[in-house]
């Protein structure tokens, strides 16, 4: 755990650097505080940041590069390395790592591997000491250099601001790079999938049955990858969810924004937000245990052959889940319509409902559309409820009493358990994820555009 100790030490140096810098600035000023460009604490922060940030950065980079370099060095020391295949190399490395950890040493273990293992151990401890030494030297060096920088005319405040700005930019870059990384990995794995299954078959195929036959005589394993039934199922459930969520959410928002007295609003709004905070898995078993049987009985009553896992049950529960989302966003939008619009309408003798119908809603409609689109992209991406309530049968149907499956359900089921990552069955997950991502991205972009366009109108 030398990295942990080094980390603590660097923090300690940085911390004391703060007081050293502060004291130094005071002594440089010679008691005449007004001569200092910045407050003493900025000189302290200047040193602390310069000691702490590069030190921690060094540890992170070191820990990232260390295994890569050491493993390459160990591998190249094993005789016959040039002739090994990639899996053999990985196997050799794993053995070496185990041997170094004292696992699996037997009489017949090859001397080459034992030598490599001791080399591995040696390199690791050398690296640990080197990291410690370099880290402490860096901390001491930056401390010394920055200490000498301190002078009355040195603009410590501006420099500290610059460092802080750099840190802020760094963090946002990390967030962006993570997104880019996820998208790229989706993209590349999808390309591997499309190398096995042609894109047109995936995008326009009507048959989804990802089980691939291992033997010719195996039943129920056709290995078809047409995503149309999955998207049809997703859209069916999403549509049912929106049919529930939009009317309820919107009317609730109208009530809250324009009818509810302040006291009711103060209670109802937080309660709605609690509804939004219920974990989706709870909605899921609510769907399968409570709603699904009711839907099935209802279907039987109507004389329709209703499946136990119906699209209707999953869709309705998903709709309920989205209600607070729609109502909260719409409420904001409706409240953003200026009071002057309401006054103008009331002043002409319009009633409350006329005002809402003819003035408020038309003015708020772009924002409401944006809210609904965001809700749709949420419904499409929702997983847990449909995993539990919607079923796995990839039926191409518009009958809400039938069982359907969705993109997210298939992704979840295909990845549960052990998987081989070279079969199209597993790789199809990435292609599905990519298409799902593209759809929700488009919806979000449109929604945000619509919302922004609306905002420009009043502010």
């Amino acid at each position: 755990m030398s990295a942990g100790i080094l980390f603590a030490l660097i923090l300690l140096v940085a911390f004391s650097g703060y007081f050293i810098g502060r004291g130094r600035s005071l002594s440089v000023a010679g008691g005449a505080m007004a001569d200092l460009h910045s407050l003493p604490s900025y000189y302290g922060l200047y040193i602390a940041l310069w000691v702490g940030v590069p030190g921690i950065f060094l540890i992170l980079v070191w820990l990232f590069l260390e295994p890569i370099i050491i493993e390459a060095m160990v591998l190249s020391s094993i005789p016959g390395y040039e002739t090994m295949t990639e899996p053999d190399r990985q196997l050799a490395l794993a053995t070496v790592r185990n041997l170094a950890g004292g696992i699996g040493i037997r009489e017949d273990t090859s001397a080459d591997l034992l030598a490599a293992a001791s080399r591995y151990t040696g390199l690791n401890s050398t690296s640990a000491w080197m990291m410690f030494a370099v880290g402490m030297a860096l901390a001491a060096g930056t401390l010394a250099v920055t200490y000498r920088h301190i002078a009355t005319e040195m603009r410590a405040r501006n420099r500290v601001e610059a460092i802080i700005r750099f840190l802020l930019v760094l963090c946002s870059v990390i967030a962006i790079l993570t997104t880019v990384g996820i998208v790229l990995s989706l993209l590349f794995e999808s390309l591997r999938f499309f190398a096995r299954v042609p894109p047109q078959e995936f995008l326009f195929g009507f048959q989804w049955s990802p089980q691939i036959a291992l033997r010719a005589d195996q039943a129920g394993a056709s290995g078809a990858f047409g995503m149309i039934p999955l998207f049809a199922g997703t859209l069916l459930i999403g549509a049912i969810a929106m049919l529930v969520a939009v009317p309820i959410g919107l009317t609730a928002a109208i009530y809250l924004a324009d009818y509810a007295p302040a006291r009711v609003r103060a209670i109802v709004k937080p309660v709605m937000e609690i509804l939004a905070g219920i974990p989706t898995v709870v909605y899921g078993f609510f769907a399968i245990l409570t709603v699904a049987p009711v839907v099935r009985d209802f279907g039987v009553m109507l004389g329709i052959d209703a499946s136990a896992n119906s699209a209707l049950a999953a869709g309705v529960v998903m709709g309920v889940m989205i209600v607070p989302f729609v109502s909260s966003l719409s409420d904001d939008v409706i409240n953003a319509v200026p009071q002057a619009m309401r006054d103008g309408s009331y002043g002409l003798g319009a009633t409350k409902s006329e005002t809402i119908r003819l003035v408020i809603l038309p003015a708020a409609i772009p924002g409401i559309v944006g809210a609904v689109l965001l809700a749709v992209s949420r419904a499409i991406g929702e997983t847990m409820i449909v995993v539990m309530a919607a079923g796995l049968a990839a039926n191409l149907t518009v009958n809400p009493f039938d069982a359907v499956t969705t993109v997210t359900v298939q992704i979840a089921t295909l990845l549960v358990g052990d998987q081989e990552f070279d079969s199209p069955k597993t790789l199809s997950v990435f292609a599905l994820g990519l298409v799902l991502f593209a759809v929700t991205l488009c919806l979000n972009v449109i929604a945000l555009r619509v919302v922004r366009k609306y905002r420009e109108k009043y502010e």
Partner: protein, 266 residues
Amino acid sequence: MSAQTVDAEPMAAVGQAKMTARDVDVYYGEKRALHSVDCDVIENEVLSLIGPSGCGKSTFLRCLNRMNDTIDICRVEGNITLDSQDIYDKELDVVQLRARVGMVFQKPNPFPKSIYDNIAYGPRIHGVSSHKDDLDGIVQRSLEGAGLWQEVKDRLAEPGTGLSGGQQQRLCIARAIAVSPEVILMDEPCSALDPIATAHIEELIDELRQNFTIVIVTHNMQQAARVSQKTAFFHLGELVEHNLTGELFTNPKDERTQGYITGRYG
């Protein structure tokens, strides 16, 4: 309280009271915003309400078409009549009242609709006319009445929010007169406008007096002098003085009025 109100005799001469207010008190929660105000609005005259900010003149104006109803904590006591009918009567339909007593606000607030639909809004909700030709006629007459027809007749389908500030305010006046009210209340209608647009509106107010009774709140005493026949001076929730405009400005009876119009406070 009413003893302090100086009701000058020469006022009684002309016109008939369109609206009367007797002993009107207004409370916002615990706070009392108006103290027993007595005031008459004479038919086909312009009444200006002046006074320093927070003196209650806008509050009084909003009592006249019950716009204060939209504020939860507001409570109005006393008696206000329109054509001798109590407007705070439980039986009275506030929607009908507001159709008869229209309002123009401080900031132009056209609806985010076309110019045509802005004007047609009132007639449509009151079912005055469902016929396209009738509606066209109302829109044209209202815009003419507000002196805006020549400027917008070729672009009635464009959004009302695209007009200039002064045009927007005249659009709001046109929107108000489209429902043929009897009284028009104006709450500082020119405070957001430049001097040229203000002059336009002032001329318009003078013309509108032929057909409507007008009550206008203004901070601009020259404006009050120019457009109104009667002026009422409010101070700290009291109606201090109510008189012929010329009389009030040249010969104020109350020293608070004098202090205000000569710029000593307010």
